[in-house]
Symmetry: C2
Subunit: 325 residues, 2 copies
C-alpha cells in the first residue's frame, strides 16, 4: 500500500455506523461496521466513529489519507457543520458535530446528508458512472433524496435541497410522519409498507400476511415483498401502490429536471421487480418529458454501499459543500 492514497467514508445512520477506507478508484480497502449506539448518547457515537477512523489509519499506515467524508442521516447545516434536524439521531439537533470530530481527529472532515452522499456514490461508481447528472430517491424506512447537477450535489441555499420524500403526491392522502398529508414517503417507504400491511391484516383482508407475521413475530417490508413474490394479492397491491407512488414522484422530477438518469435506492429498492412495472406505467402516463426523451430509471447498483462510497468521494470533489441557489 505504500505510496498509494485513500479516503475514508463514514455512513452514520440511526442504526448502523459504517466506516471504510476507499481507493481513489472507488474500491473498498478496509471496512468497519458497528451499531450506532444512539441510546448511549452523542459522545459515545462520536467516540466510536473517531476510534474507527484511527483504527483504519493504523491499518493503512504507509498510505496517504487524502480526506474524510461523513454522510449523516439528517439535514446538515453546511455553513457551520451542525445537524439541523434528524429524526434518526435524537438529541443531535444543532450539535456542532463537524467541529467536535475535527477537534478529536485534528484534521478536516466534510459533512453531508446521507441521501446526498448516496446519490454521489451512484454518480461516482454506480448506476450513474457515465452520467453527469442524476436524481436519486433513497427509499428506506422513510424516503430521502439527492440531486446531482453537472457533477455536483445540488444543495440549495441552506443545504436543504433534495427533500424528495416529502413531495405531496396526493393532497388529501395518507398522513406522513412530517405531519403533512399525502407525501410520497407515506406510500412508498418501508414504514408505509408495513403500515398498509398491518391495516390489511387488521380488517382481515390478508390471512396469509397475518399468518406469516404471527409465525415470525414481526411484520416487515421484506416479509410483504416475499409474500408479493409468492403471489399474495394484498402484498402485490401494496407493492403496486409503492410503484405508482414512486412513479408519480419520478414523473414530476423528470418534468422538472430532464436529467439523463433517475435512481431508486435504499432497502426498498431490493423489491424493484415487485414495484417497477407500476412505477414505469405511471411515469409513461404522467411525464411528457419522459415520453419524448431517453431518460433512464434504474435501481441503485451499489445497494447499501452507495452512501458509504459517496462519503468517501467527498474529499475528491472541488468545493464539495458548494452552496448554490
Amino acid at each position: 500500500m505504500a505510496d498509494s492514497s485513500y479516503t475514508i467514508g463514514v455512513d452514520l445512520g440511526g442504526t448502523n455506523l459504517r466506516i471504510a477506507a476507499v481507493s481513489p478508484e472507488g474500491r473498498f480497502i478496509e471496512k468497519i461496521a458497528l451499531d450506532t449506539e444512539v441510546k448511549e448518547g452523542r459522545e459515545r457515537v462520536v467516540t466510536d466513529l473517531c476510534d474507527a477512523i484511527k483504527e483504519l489509519e493504523r491499518r493503512l499506515k504507509g498510505s496517504k489519507l487524502a480526506g474524510i467524508g461523513i454522510g449523516v442521516a439528517g439535514i446538515i447545516n453546511l455553513a457551520n457543520g451542525t445537524v439541523r434536524q434528524s429524526p434518526n439521531l435524537p438529541g443531535w439537533s444543532d450539535f456542532p458535530v463537524r467541529d467536535d470530530i475535527e477537534r478529536r481527529l485534528r484534521t478536516h472532515v466534510i459533512l453531508e446528508n446521507d441521501a446526498n452522499a448516496a446519490a454521489l456514490g451512484e454518480k461516482w461508481v454506480g448506476a450513474g458512472r457515465d452520467a453527469s447528472g442524476l436524481c436519486m430517491m433513497t427509499v428506506g424506512t422513510g424516503i430521502g433524496g439527492g440531486v446531482i447537477l453537472d457533477g455536483r450535489i445540488w444543495h440549495g441555499m441552506d443545504g436543504m435541497a433534495g427533500e424528495l420524500g416529502h413531495m405531496t403526491i396526493d393532497p388529501n392522502g395518507a398522513l406522513c410522519g412530517c405531519g403533512n398529508l399525502g407525501c410520497v414517503e407515506a406510500y412508498a417507504g418501508a414504514s408505509a409498507i408495513t403500515r398498509m400491511a398491518a391495516a390489511a391484516i387488521r380488517v382481515g383482508r390478508s390471512p396469509e400476511l397475518a399468518r406469516e407475521a404471527d409465525a415470525l413475530g414481526e411484520l416487515t417490508a421484506e416479509i410483504v415483498y416475499i409474500k408479493a413474490k409468492q403471489g399474495d394479492l394484498v402484498a402485490r397491491e401494496i407493492f403496486e401502490m409503492v410503484g405508482r407512488s414512486l412513479g408519480v414522484a419520478l414523473a414530476n422530477l423528470i418534468n422538472i429536471f430532464n436529467l439523463p438518469l433517475y435512481v431508486v435506492g435504499g432497502g426498498v429498492a431490493r423489491g424493484w421487480d415487485a414495484f417497477a412495472p407500476a412505477l414505469m406505467a405511471e411515469v409513461r402516463k404522467r411525464s411528457l418529458v419522459y415520453r419524448s426523451s431517453s431518460t433512464r430509471i434504474e435501481p441503485s447498483s451499489l445497494g447499501g454501499e452507495a452512501g458509504l462510497l459517496g462519503a468517501a468521494y467527498l474529499p475528491h470533489m472541488r468545493d464539495p459543500q458548494w452552496k448554490n441557489q
Copy 2:
C-alpha cells in the same frame, strides 16, 4: 443613441407577437406589438417577425445591435433550433425556425422557450434581480415554468426541463389537456378557472357568474376574478382551488430546490390577492424546507413583459443555450 448598444427581444406567442429593442440595463427603447397570424401560416408569422426586427434596426440606426433573443411558446430543441412541440403554434413542430430566421436576417439569433425567457426576465430586472436563482411558474391559459440555477436557465439534457405545469398534484384528479389526470395546470391555469366556473354555472351553483357571463357574452378567468373580489362564494372557491393547487406545486419545488425565490407570473398572477392566502397556507403546511428557511414567494414584478425582457437578455448571457444534466 449613437455609440450605445441594444438587444432585440421577441415574444412569439399563439396570440401576440411582440418585438422590442432593450437597453443593456433592461429598459425598453422601442416596442412593436402585432397579432400572431397563426392561421395565415408560419411563413406569414416569420415574415412579420423579421420585418419588425428590421424596422427596429432602422429606427435605431447608429446604435449597435448586440444580439437577438426569441422566446417561443413551445418546447425548443436546443441542438437544432426547431420547435419540438407547440400547442399554441400548430404546424410548427420540427420546423427549423432558428435557421429560417437567421437566413432571412443574416445574423445569429438565440431561441428559447417563452416560460424560460420569462424566468430569465424576472431574474434580470424583475422580482429576482437580487437572487442568483429562482423558479417561476407562468400561469396563463396553461402553466409553463422556468428554473434559473446559479444565474443560468436549467435546460436539462434536451432543453425540456421546467415543465412545471404538468406536475401531478392529485393522481386521480381532473383531466389535463396533456391527457394526464391531476396536473397542476388542470386546476390553476386560466382554462381550468373557466372550466370550473362553467361547471358551477351548469349545475346552477352560481347564478351570479351565470348572469355576468350572459351579460358579457363570454366567461373568462378575469370575470371569475372580479366576481371573487366582489365576494361571490363560488368564484372565491375557484380562486382558493387555484391557490391550493399552486401551493402544492410550489411546496414540492421548494423541497426539491431550496432556492431563495419562487415567482408566480402569467395573466392569472394578476389575481394574486384572490389566491395567495390559500397558496401560502398550503406551502407552510407542506414544505418543511419552507418552514425552516427564508424562502420568498412573490408575484411577477414584470407582468406581461417578463418574457420579452428575458428574450432580450439572452444575448447578454455566456453560453445561453447551455445544455446541462
